[in-house]
Amino acid sequence: MRLSSALRLPAARSGQRLLVVILLGLCGFFCATGVAVAGPAFHVERVQVIPHADAVEIDASVRLGKEALLRQVLDQGQTLTWVVEAEWREPEPFSFIPGIGVHARREQRWHIRYYPLTNQYAIEDQQGVLTLYAHWSEVVTKLTRVRNFVLPLAHGAARGQVALRVYVDSQALPLPLRLRSLLDHWKLESSWTVAPLPR
């Protein structure tokens, strides 16, 4: 069966049918490309949510899947922005659409850079506090541990779930690297890991 007839297209104009086939082919190509670029570099694991009065405290572990690439980029002098982001979600209609059902969000950013003069890695928090690490393993240890991440919640919130993810902010990269970060190999991010909100 021909594609145009299978799609119940009018058989009046062969030119239009040809165009539809071409457009469908292009859509298929882009969809296939989109599927191919999927696959997170980091994984958030063992998420623990400790409830407090008006907040939850989150602890988690991060598995760095592309540690070598991360180090390579840093050693080449590129400063990276490491982001830990948490959301409090409640189930709502159409909550599968990103942003729907999210009632609280907080992110924390660290800038990571490398000093070739002293062979040190530095992690600077949002308050400008710089922490130096003489060894890469110390940096990895720092990045793979999410400790005492506080997510403020509305008063009385006792249901829903907490989602956590980490990523390297591609928007903070220079223009050429931003393009490359769209590709699977350079996609330095994790998917959302969800944990229920304890009652």
Binding site: L19, I22, L23, L26, P116, L117, T118, L132, L179
Partner: protein, 736 residues
């Protein structure tokens, strides 16, 4: 079928795709297309600025995605247009070849320069980016960094050595004396800050360049220190510059007493720091560039490719559109000429253009209007001619004269119904004059015509006789030449059957003769007869036996005079003027009355009557009809008495019936006998006076019968289709 109008969006897309819309009839540019092109150009400009870095660089990726979308959109438009153009080309539409040529030329003119620029730019980009990097630069930077590292390390090491010396000097000293030692040795080694603190982080002694009362404690360094070994680290200061930090344990000479810690800070000189940081920045930037080397090329190439695609596709699409716009009026003109060729003189839609195409369409419309007017006039003239021809045909069909027309090549062109009737032959249009010689009775006619055609004169008028089985047919023939539309000379023949006229003339002549004879003869007959009778009375008795001669002579005179009287009466009857007393009568009753007179006679002839039932009354003169019946019955009896008797006797049959003869009903009266019939040579003339097969008789009986029938508007025929081949007389009287 109900056709819904297309949506504005669809119409717009089709118009952009150079599809078939009403808008294509425009000659001028589409402003929405121009705006779209301007938008693409503006977009390319924005794309350039976003790709050049700066605050707009955040929008580079979205702009690139939008660019890809626009490229796809333009590609779709171009594909639609190309497919539409190919279909037009395949259908052989006028203007499609010109449009194809235009598109190919515009595509080449736009693509080739763009491809050259693209190739050069591609090459330049690659070489330009690659030229930023070289092993020499990298090596130099590495060495510079090593030098900087060495300089910094030298300070670190000297600071560490100084710290170790101070720590050695403090071994065994009490806390109170350690203060003096720390201050003295700091000055001696020119260190920035020296602090001695206990294992519980209690400051024992401190000395510093600044006046801070609370010296910083090296908490991080303590944590990093492994198993009591001294550590020395270089850290950047928040205010800039590099700081050497050394942490070293001061061993206690007493067992069980915890070690004290000596913490030394020494900033690296500003000049060295600035130089080392400059080297570090250069080194970092160089490696950053190396990291971005390929991505940068990719980004530039993508931008270049998108710009090229947008430019080329826009140019191609514009070319397609322009070609469509330029060739549309030509196609319309071609369609107009084809419509004119089909006879449809419809003016084209005028365009608001004053260029050559506008003038051409205007001229074409003028021509079309003039052609339409000429066609209308021609149609009117043709209709008039057709009406005239129909009128002529009707007239020719209705007139009693036969008409034949021949064209310049002597082929029969027209023949009317009267001609076929008169000539008693079907003539076919297109027959050649020579082919009409078929050895039939009409040969004298064709011979006459051929002779006239071969020896043309102005006109021809001849009277000729055609021998027919039922007697001669007299015709008068007129001929005249004419010139037809093609200029060739044809001729027309007009002829009339004047046999009836000739017979009527003959009858009138006979009537006149009979009238004169009756007048001249009848008057002396009575004195002759009276004189003969007187002679007879006076001298017959006197002469006695001698009077036999007189007796015979006078008797003969008297008898012959009686015979002459009868003859003269017949002449009188034949020549009398018609004076009819027409009244409705029942023909069957009249026949029965007449037959009663004949049934008493011993003639040996059986007279039968077959009378149609329910006949309508006939408006006629009863005396004349009785005369007809008597004459016919007398003729039949005379014929039967002279003939041979058949085995079943002699018979006369009188028959009446109602017949249809065209639009009027007729009452038919037939008298049939089984006698010898009419002689064939006399059959055509039996109704003429003095034409008779009988020895006795005046020969006026049937002539009188025909005269009476004609006076009643009827017709009479005679043939030998009576009983057993005997004579038959058939009379038709019109009813109403």
């Amino acid at each position: 079928m109900d056709r819904r109008p297309p949506s504005p969006l669809k119409n717009w897309l089709r118009a952009l795709g150079a599809g078939t819309t009403e808008e294509q009839l425009r000659v001028g540019p589409r402003w929405d297309a121009v705006l779209l092109l301007l938008a693409i150009v503006a977009f390319l400009g924005i794309n350039f600025f976003t790709s050049a870095g700066g605050p707009l660089s955040h929008y580079f990726v979205p702009m690139l995605v939008i660019s890809a979308g626009i490229v796809l959109f333009l590609l779709s438009l171009v594909l639609i247009s190309v497919v539409a153009l190919l279909l037009r080309l395949r259908r052989g539409e006028v203007g499609s070849q010109l449009a194809t040529r235009l598109v190919v030329i515009i595509t080449l003119l736009s693509f080739l320069p763009a491809a050259v620029v693209f190739g050069f730019s591609w090459q330049y980009l690659n070489q330009g980016v690659d030229s930023w990097f070289s092993s020499a630069v990298q090596s130099a930077l590495d060495q510079a960094l090593n030098v900087a590292k060495a300089g910094v390390d030298r300070y670190r090491n000297s600071t560490l050595l100084a710290a170790e010396s101070i720590a050695q000097a403090l071994v065994g000293e009490s806390d109170s004396s350690a203060v003096i030692t720390v201050i003295a040795l700091r000055d001696q080694y020119r260190l920035s800050s020296v602090t001695l603190f206990s294992s519980d982080n209690r400051i024992i002694a401190t000395s510093s360049d600044n006046l801070s009362l609370a010296p910083r404690l090296p908490r991080q360094e303590i944590l990093a220190m492994e198993e009591g070994h001294p550590t020395a680290a270089i850290e950047p200061e928040p205010k800039g510059g590099l700081l050497v930090k050394v942490l070293i344990p001061v061993l206690s000479p007493h067992l069980g007493e915890s070690n004290r810690m000596l913490y030394v800070e020494q900033p690296i000189p500003e000049q060295l720091t600035r130089a080392a940081e400059a080297v570090q920045v250069a080194y970092t930037r160089y490696h950053q560039l190396m990291l971005m080397r390929e991505p940068m090329k990719t980004a530039f190439q993508l931008s270049l490719a998108v710009a090229l695609l947008l430019a080329v596709l826009s140019a191609v699409w514009m070319g397609l559109h322009l070609a469509r716009r330029l060739t549309a009026p030509i196609a319309r003109l071609a369609a107009g000429t084809q419509a004119v060729a089909r006879g449809e003189f419809i003016p084209l839609q005028t365009v608001a253009s004053h260029d050559e195409l506008g003038v051409l369409i205007h001229s074409f419309n003028n021509m079309t209007r003039q052609l339409a007017r000429a066609k209308q006039q021609a149609a009117a003239a043709q209709e008039q001619a057709e009406q005239r021809r129909l009128y002529l045909e009707t007239v020719l069909g209705q007139i009693s004269s036969g008409i034949l027309t021949f064209d310049g090549e002597n082929h029969l062109a027209e023949v009317n119904a009267a001609a076929t009737h008169i000539l008693q032959e079907d003539l076919f249009r297109g027959s050649a004059l020579d082919d009409l010689y078929d050895g039939t009775a009409l040969e004298p006619l064709w011979k006459l015509v051929a002779d006239w055609v071969e020896h043309p004169r102005n006109g021809m008028q001849r009277e000729l006789q055609i021998e027919r089985p039922d007697g001669p047919q007299t015709m008068i023939v007129h001929g005249a030449h004419f010139a037809d539309d093609a200029g060739s000379r044809g001729f027309v023949l007009v002829f009339d059957d004047i046999s009836t006229l000739v017979a009527a003339q003959r009858s009138a002549a006979w009537s006149e003769v009979a009238r004169r004879l009756a007048h001249e003869i009848k008057n002396p007959l009575t004195p002759i007869q009276l004189s003969a009778e007187r002679l007879r009375r006076k001298y017959l008795e006197r002469l006695g036996d001698e009077g036999e001669t007189l007796d015979r002579a006078t008797r003969t005179i008297i008898h012959q005079v009686d015979a002459l009287k009868v003859m003269v009466d017949a002449f009188s009857e034949y020549a009398r003027q018609p004076q009819l007393e027409l009244r409705p009568l029942d023909l069957n009753t009249l026949i029965l009355d007449v037959l009663d007179l004949y049934r008493g006679q011993e003639s040996g002839v059986e007279i039968r009557a077959e009378l149609g039932a329910g006949l309508p009354p006939l408006r006629a003169d009863v005396h004349r009809l009785r005369q007809i019946l008597n004459n016919l019955l007398r003729n039949a009896l005379d014929a039967l008495q002279g003939g041979v008797e058949s085995s079943d006797g002699k018979h006369i049959l009188i028959r009446t019936r109602l017949t249809d003869a065209g639009p009027t009903k007729m009452l038919e009266l037939s008298v049939l006998d089984d006698g010898p019939g009419f002689p064939v040579e006399l059959l055509a003339r039996v109704f003429e006076p003095y034409v008779s097969s009988k020895v006795k008789g005046s020969g006026l009986g049937l002539a009188i019968v025909r005269r009476i029938v004609e006076e009643h508007g009827g017709q009479i025929i005679a043939d030998n289709q009576g009983l057993q081949g005997g004579a038959r007389i058939v009379i038709d009287f019109p009813l109403g």
